[in-house]
Amino acid sequence: MMKKVLLLAAIALLAFALWPFVRDVGLAEPGELATAYLERGPAELGTANVVTSIVVSYRGFDTLGEVTVLFTATAGVGGLLARRKSGHGRKKAAERGATDASEILKTASRLLSPLLVLFGVYIFLHGHLTPGGGFQGGVIIATAVLIGLLADPEAGLAHGVMHLVEGLSGFAYVALGAVGLWFTGVQAGFLDPRFLPLGELGRLASAGAIPIIYSLVGLKVGAELTGILDAMKEDAE
């Protein structure tokens, strides 16, 4: 009883604290910083998608930090769910009465997975032009792997390739950021993409190094989320 009263009091307190957000402040103009990003982003960096210019370049350091958090969480999941050496208490899927996926499901997943990977690559290559980018593309690639895992749980993933992709894309991300630091002259900064030509707004090969950096982010996110799914999947052996 006491617990319930305390709980309701805590919820009421939280609701009271959040009340200022609920009141409509009636903003008609974006703030000064947002105005600057909206006006200068396309001209300075050549991106049609302003969100991408913020994620990759203006706040690129934040993104690097968040990718690091993602890596740490993935490492935590992998460490906590490390496979046991002995088969203690572990049964094969067939012994637990699990049925095999049907032939239609297996064939359809083999057909769909490569197409989904292709779609993910499309999403992060066009991150500077259309909605989407590295994070969305990476998630779609992880979904493609998930479909394969659902249809055939016994199939092993190529862990070596995954770790290689993850490590190399992470390294290349930081390296490209450092290149931006050195090559763009007086007002250079970390993750400045302007060491490549900006090109024409709206072309695929434009916006300096942003498509390359976002593709690396996409590969890294895809590899990490695939790692989480693979670790969470009940192991087959």
């Binding site: 947002a34 396309p42 001209a43 998608n49 969100v51 994620v55 968040e66 906590l80 980018g133 707004l201």
Partner: protein, 120 residues
């Protein structure tokens, strides 16, 4: 009603429901579901703070050119922050769930109350 921002109202409601679930349910999985719902609520509040009525998405095309971008588009900064926060949310949920699986593997029950005596 006009002085209430409806989207932040939804976000706050989701946040409160999620917190209630996380605090009141005895089952570990239910608590994590509560945290996931609260996560969605927080993301919704942040995006709603950057929304300006009657404006379009911050993406340039033939209909919205760079010259009047600041007059026709919504604030892109909260969107950029939420974008990464969602991905982090998935990773943190997976981390919580793997803790739950680990606790279960070491012989505990599904209910959080059964862990009261363990010191580790």
């Amino acid at each position: 009603m006009s002085d209430v921002n409806i989207v932040t109202l939804i976000g706050v409601a989701l946040l409160l429901v999620g917190f209630y679930g996380a605090l009141s349910r005895p089952n570990v999985i239910k608590m994590i579901v509560g945290f996931a719902i609260a996560d969605t609520g927080v993301n919704m509040i942040i995006v709603a703070v950057g929304y300006l009525p009657g404006r379009t998405a911050p993406i340039l095309d033939s209909a919205a050119d760079a010259a009047n971008a600041a007059r026709t588009m919504v604030d892109p900064i909260p969107q950029a922050l939420v974008l990464t926060a969602i991905v982090i949310g998935l990773a943190v949920t997976a981390l919580m769930l793997s803790f739950a699986v680990r606790m279960r593997r070491s012989g505990g029950g599904m209910a959080i109350d059964s862990y009261g005596e363990q010191k580790w």
